[in-house]
């Protein structure tokens, strides 16, 4: 039972170099503190045991949302509510706004950051699926420099990522979305707010002459990591969108999911939900690609 926080030293480096050096030095005794909405709970409940926190609060521009050439760059420290309220994001990838608004509660979204939502690598996180179908990359700053990783390759398991000791996730880069493309995120939870996904499905389709040129489908909460349903997406290529087609793809997506049974739902029910959400996400993505308003 966790009424109390353990004694913890908080560091507030003023730049990334300092942050990386500190993290490298402290190693396993430190965690990065951003919004803290996951981490503080884990510390109180003794699931995370560290004696140092390295806060990103003082680092200039860590929360900046800006155009980067044709891409959109979202600072890791940007909160879900800031992203949801940003007009560039709304034009660039409206489904990301939907995903942000589906997270937790308004109060939590005031604190919770996109970087935290990704780096915590919780299988049910709401932002990774839509970012994965949008071909997003994360930028990691380490003691020896920067590197970029495709988000779909970033997750290694529940709460495990590709991040190395001393690295900080600094920003998310979303490439320009193809013309005539549309994306969507559908989440199913047991309550309309403050609920983790039983399953979440993101989809992106790119249209050409009435046919689906390319598609991507990512599944959340139904595998150890957010996961691309590649065979389901492949089944859509060069096909005319129809309910039957989406149902076929959804059935394939179910076979690509690896859900577990837990307190939020049985594996069997999760497979049912993946099927429904995949079809609905595809319908919405196609509607958006055709410039139609969402239902």
């Amino acid at each position: 039972m966790g009424l109390t926080l353990p004694e913890i030293e908080i560091h507030e480096p003023e730049n990334l170099k300092e942050a990386c050096a500190l993290l490298k030095k402290l190693g396993r005794n430190a965690r990065i503190l951003a919004g803290g909405t996951d981490l503080i709970v884990d510390l109180k409940e003794k699931r995370a045991k560290v004696s140092h926190l390295v806060s990103l609060a003082e680092i200039v521009d860590i929360d900046r949302i800006k155009k980067d050439g044709k891409a959109l760059s979202i600072g890791a420290g940007a909160t879900a509510n800031r992203i949801a309220a940003n007009s560039m994001v709304a034009r660039f990838l409206p489904a990301l706004v939907d995903a942000c608004n589906s997270m937790a509660s308004y109060h939590i979204r005031n604190l919770a950051t996109i970087g935290g939502n990704i780096a915590s690598a919780v299988p049910s996180a709401d932002l990774p699926p839509i970012l994965i179908v949008a071909d997003a990359k994360v930028e990691l700053q380490g003691p020896r420099g920067k590197r970029k990783v495709k988000l779909e390759n970033f997750f290694k398991g529940p709460r495990r990522t590709d991040m190395k000791p001393g690295e900080v996730l600094t920003r998310i880069i979303i490439p320009a979305q193809p013309k005539k493309s549309g994306s969507s995120y559908h989440k199913f939870a047991l309550r309309n707010a403050t609920a983790l996904a039983v399953a979440g499905v993101a989809a992106r389709v790119e249209m050409e002459k009435g046919l689906i040129k390319k598609a991507a489908i990512a599944l959340g909460a139904v595998a150890p990591t957010p996961k691309l349903a590649k065979r389901a997406a492949a089944a859509l290529r060069k096909k005319k969108p129809s309910r039957e087609l989406f149902e076929k793809a959804a059935a394939i997506a179910v076979r690509e999911s690896k859900p577990i049974s837990d307190i939020r739902g049985s594996a069997e029910y999760r497979r049912d939900i993946v099927e429904v959400l995949t079809r609905r996400a595809l319908e919405d993505a196609v509607a958006r690609a055709r410039g139609k308003k969402r239902k």
Partner: protein, 756 residues
């Protein structure tokens, strides 16, 4: 009686008198209390559902900052708790649930207390778990307690009226089904709290969030072995209770023992996880109900058989069949009725009182089953109810004497508001359910009374001194409104003094929706006595007969005269005692309602002096692909006797409906081998604002002759028929009956596929 517009204050919308201090953070809750030198107490609980154990506290005692570590051995003469006295505050040698208290520490701060708890060494010798009531009742099942070798509590319920078995046999239509009700948690905003301080060996002050200050005084005296006359209970501002603080619990005794051992004040304050694991729950139940009716839809038989998971020890949950008997015997007119209930010990959590006290469980089973009967009989569910409505003047099989009864009016208003006959779209459903509950107190002890003193000071300030408890239900506001109405004093000039057994008079506690009714009546009568004193004094001053004094809006003036020439309350009050042999304007009234203690064997007797009725109706839409139920509209029509505070009663009902929807659709404490898997507010799902449907409230004012201004108690009513109404609407939408709560999307989807 008087019309609504004859009142200045009663029936109006008034913000709660304590709203500002609660909203601004000024209110001092238990968790805010800091007494000089106070230590932090913490309890070590079992890490097994069922085991023998040995314990070594020596390492914990040596930690700097630890002032005391106690076990069952420390104070061997402390007596057991619970209405069956089967629950020792600290368990000795054997644990029967994960909530069982093994040892406790007092330390200089919470961190040290936690370290000490972790340093206590316990060795367990596992015993077979008994976490299922059917298994617990098997012949060779492991035994939890020596005093119950068959794991069944000696105390049982068997109520019968007429010949229900024969009537069922002979019925034209009949149906039998079994319903399962889950564990749910009260989820008070403020988790459990107690602080204790001894002055010398036998003078004890307890700072508490109890709902039963006077009974707690008695419990503590008996358990600790000191005269109750040496005990003072001071209640803090209480952050919700819903029945959970109706008993005296091990943690409260442990707080007193730690304070005794250390000679310093000690507090114990639960965090949310401990609150889930170690406070009481709603009573879970498996209920089998049969109904029979004639071909005209006249109900002839009802048989109700409940098996309750009693958990490891007994608190009030085990007595909930006492109140289940009200709807079983008296919801609609049924000539032949039987109710049986037995309680089974298991290694699960134990239940306490929770808003409705068994009635939501019973009403869910009865009202679901009546819809099933209607289907079998080919009668519309509404028509079936109409043919069996309760009526004023009726004496029910349990000898409940129905005075005023708004069942018909509530039902008709609710079905009209929900547009019951409107054709349904695909996957849309409509349903409703009725309720009866005590509305005029409930005599479950020798006394159902409460004493109130009202005094008026020289400045016209009115102070109401009472033993009644405010747990957020709004009764302080109701009392102030009554005094304002009677004495013509504005609300801001009225204060309520409660929360201390040293000055509050006996009150049976806040339960059974009784406080506005009982304490309201005591306040009303005490105010009227004070008013007479003031009228007499004003008459003297004006040199006229008391009968010639007019009292209006706080001003006394002679009949035929004008209020401008009159005297205000403060001036009359001063005239009474600023003189030789003066008198102070004040009066005490002890109100005990005209209801009866039921015979424990037959369960018959008029337990309440009036009964509250209500109907919930809703329209739902089901997503056939996910099974998710969306409530499109919710209507609650209640026979409230008379509205006292419109804003308060709306809040009570909105809150009740939210709890009822949670009970119906989401809330579920999931246990696995006695261990709670979701002791947090993320995975234990209370409904939130975005889950709430549009609500329409309808108040039926039946003007009860015994109620204050005609009011009935309404505190619990708001969630009693909710789950049944929703279940009936879901059945209407999907064509399949779900008999296990909560009605989760997963169950709905499975039910839809079952129909196909």
């Amino acid at each position: 009686m008087t019309e609504n517009n004859e009142y200045n204050v009663i029936g109006k919308r008034v913000p709660k008198v304590d709203a500002r201090e609660k909203a601004t953070g000024a209110a001092i809750f238990g968790h805010d209390l800091r007494l000089p030198g106070m230590l932090e107490g913490k309890i070590l609980r079992s890490k097994r559902a069922h085991a023998n154990f040995t314990i070594d506290i020596s390492k914990a005692e040596k930690i700097p900052g630890v002032v005391a570590v106690i076990t069952a051995e420390t104070y061997p003469h402390v007596k057991n708790l619970g209405f069956l006295q089967d629950n020792p505050a600290l368990k000795k040698g054997k644990v029967c649930s994960y909530r069982d208290e093994i040892a406790a520490v007092a330390a200089v701060n919470p961190e040290t207390a936690e370290d000490a708890i972790n340093a206590i060494e316990v060795e367990y010798e596992d015993l077979p778990n008994v976490c299922d009531i059917e298994f617990a009742c098997m012949e060779n099942a492991p035994v939890l307690h020596e005093h119950a070798p068959d794991n069944i509590l000696k105390h049982r319920y068997d109520f019968v009226h007429g010949d229900p078995e024969k009537a069922l046999e002979e019925a034209d239509f009949k149906v039998t089904s079994t319903y399962r009700l889950q564990y749910v948690a009260h989820c008070c905003m403020e988790p459990c709290f107690a602080a204790a301080q001894w002055d010398g060996p036998d003078r004890l002050t307890v700072y508490s969030t109890t709902q039963i200050p006077h009974l707690m005084q008695r419990d503590l005296g008996r358990v600790l072995g000191i005269p109750a006359a040496h005990i003072r209970i001071k209640q803090m501002v209480i952050g919700g209770a819903f029945g959970s603080k109706l008993d005296t619990y091990p943690y409260e005794i442990i707080t007193c023992l730690l304070a005794k051992k250390t000679g310093r004040p000690v507090r114990i304050a639960f965090d949310r996880e401990e609150e889930f694991i170690a406070s009481v729950t709603r009573q879970p139940a498996v209920i089998t109900v049969s109904h029979g009716c004639t071909k005209d839809g006249k109900l002839t038989a009802r048989i109700f058989d409940a098996v309750l998971d009693n958990g490891s020890n007994s608190s009030w949950g085990a007595t909930t069949p006492h109140i289940m008997a009200n709807p079983v015997s008296s919801l609609y007119k049924v000539e032949n009725v039987r109710m049986k209930a037995k309680m089974v010990y298991t290694n699960n959590a134990y239940a306490g009182a929770f808003r409705g006290y068994g009635n939501p469980q019973a009403t869910f089973a009865i009202e679901s089953n009546l819809d099933e009967l209607a289907k079998v009989a080919g009668i519309d569910p509404l028509e079936l109810r109409r043919r069996n409505f309760n009526e004023p003047g009726e004496t029910t099989p349990q000898d409940l004497k129905i005075t005023t009864c708004g069942m018909k009016e509530c039902t008709e208003a609710a079905v009209e508001a929900i547009d019951y006959d409107k054709p349904l779209e695909e996957w849309e459903g409509v349903g409703f359910a009725n309720m009866i509950h005590v509305g005029g107190g409930a005599r479950i002890y020798l006394s159902d009374g409460s004493g109130v003193t009202v005094k008026v000071d020289d400045f016209g300030r009115v102070v109401i001194i009472t033993g009644a408890t405010e747990i957020g239900q709004g009764t302080d506001t109701a009392m102030a409104m009554i005094a304002s109405e009677e004495l013509g004093v504005p609300l801001e000039n009225i204060s309520i003094l409660n929360s201390d057994t040293d000055y509050g008079m006996w009150d049976a506690g806040v339960h059974a929706s009784r406080t506005t009714f009982i304490v309201g009546n005591a306040t009303l009568r005490a105010c009227r006595m004070v008013k007479e004193q003031l009228i007499e004094a004003a008459a003297k001053k004006m040199k006229i007969e008391p009968g010639k004094v007019v009292f209006e809006k706080g001003v006394f003036y002679p009949e035929g005269g004008s209020p401008e020439d009159g005297m205000k309350v403060d001036k009359v009050a001063r005239s009474m005692h600023f003189r030789r042999q003066g008198k102070h304007p004040m009066a005490t009234y002890y109100y005990d309602p005209p209801n009866e203690l039921q015979d424990m064997k037959t369960l018959k007797g008029n337990v309440s002096s009036t009964y509250a009725y209500g109907t919930h109706a809703c329209r739902v839409k089901v997503d056939p692909e996910t099974g998710k139920v969306k409530i499109l509209k919710f209507v609650a029509a209640h026979d409230v006797g008379k509205v006292i505070n419109r804003q308060g009663i709306e809040g009570q009902l909105h809150g009740g409906i939210a709890q009822g929807i949670g009970y119906a659709l989401m809330e579920d404490m999931v246990f696995e081998d006695g261990k709670l898997l979701n002791p947090n507010l993320l995975d234990y799902k209370l409904v939130m604002a975005r889950d709430m449907p549009p609500m329409e409230l309808i108040f039926i004012e039946t003007d009860d002759p015994e109620g204050p201004y005609g009011a009935k108690g309404i505190g619990e009513a708001g969630l009693i028929p909710t789950a049944a109404a929703i279940a009936n609407a879901v059945e209407s939408a999907i064509g399949a009956r779900i008999r296990d709560l909560p009605i989760t999307p997963e169950k709905v989807l499975a039910a839809i596929r079952g129909v196909k």
